[in-house]
Symmetry: C2
Subunit: 199 residues, 2 copies
DNA sequence: AGGTTTGTGTACGAGTCGTTCATGATCTAA
DNA sequence: TTAGATCATGAACGACTCGTACACAAACCT
């Protein structure tokens, strides 16, 4: 839930219109769902939201920035981070949930957002800060506890383990070379944990 | 090395101009190196190549298709697939080579190509067929021999193992959340093989 | 020669981008 | 109540890109 606030909101002067903000995000989200990233043009968003194009440019630096905020606004996936003590089970649950949500429209859109981020630094930043980072922190907690419990060797690099767990998921989402299903979650967790467990 | 040949080249009539083909690919590659995917506009490529825009549209379906062919044309990375019998060493060598090439301009461009592929099916197809597939087949051979030698359990899913090995690399290339260096290759190979080896 | 396909030059309409300008609206502080 | 500050709007603009249409020249085969 990244808040669009490139300029700060000072105490003096006319305050920012919440109506315009929400109308923009809703319009952008609708366009995203209907026609993907290509349809979420600045002009189209402005027209649909009934908000001036200038106003949108004032608060968001680029079309991609609007899109990713609209994505967060619409698909507010409250990712549940269970911690039952069963590392394998907890990780499998997390990854299966993500896979499940990525098998729908949200997945296509996330792929398009990551794609657009390769040529839009502001989108890249927002995606890394607002999407990836919180999820990695939560996963790091789960893995850290497993280390504390003596279930994972302390010499393994946790960031790398996180990539081994999640990167295959995003990779299949974007390249579509292999199915994105629960079997992937199960296999990845099984192989990865077996590779880092205390012997 | 995907050959651009949307229409077939019949035996009758004026043959396709090799000059125009090479001029197009060279111009596109130059523009890619200089200004990234954004600079490789159809108009810019046509102008620089001295080739009519219509001619380019005749042989390539989209701007992304031109770009990926130009990438293959310029960065003809002859990926060496060693097979010394030392699975860990061979995989580490492969992955280190790829990481090394991705740390330069080729990496930025590959990231942009994968990004653009998310909204350009023809680019997505070319990338999957001309880039990913041959590399996966070569890796499958290496892993298959390791299975035959009894170094990898026969019940593990090889495509998933390949994703565990390579996806973290592409994931870091695109998200830039962690460094893309030799340590990643070493750690990934170590963890992955440890997780699938015969016990 | 006749038929066929390719390449060129020019031009076009449609769409998008990001910005400028003048004007009015809405808030805080004096 | 007034002055100052900031925001939102509408319209318009130049620049750029896209993909296509047209007429015509070039190169090859039978």
């Amino acid at each position: 839930m990244t808040s669009p606030d490139a300029p700060t909101n000072p105490a003096v002067g006319r305050p920012r219109s919440e109506r315009a903000r929400l109308a923009t995000l809703d319009a952008a989200a609708d366009l995203l769902v209907e026609g993907g990233l290509a349809a979420a043009t600045m002009e189209a968003v402005a027209a649909r939201a009934g908000v001036s194009k200038v106003t949108i440019y004032k608060w968001w630096p680029s079309r991609g920035a609007v899109a990713v905020d609209a994505y967060f606004h619409r698909f507010d996936e409250t990712y549940a981070y269970v911690d039952t003590g069963d590392v394998a089970g907890d990780l499998t649950t997390q990854i299966r949930l993500l896979i499940h949500s990525f098998r729908g429209r949200a997945g296509e859109l996330m792929a398009e957002l990551i794609g657009q981020a390769q040529s839009d630094p502001s989108l890249s930043d927002t995606l890394r800060t607002g999407w990836l980072q919180p999820r990695r922190e939560a996963t790091a907690t789960v893995l850290g506890r497993a280390v504390d419990r003596g279930q994972i060797r302390p010499d393994v690099d946790i960031p790398t383990v996180m990539d081994q767990l999640y990167a295959p998921l995003y990779w299949r989402l974007m390249m579509r070379h292999q199915p994105l299903d629960d079997a992937l979650a199960d296999e990845v967790v099984r192989n990865t944990l077996e590779g880092v467990r205390v012997r």
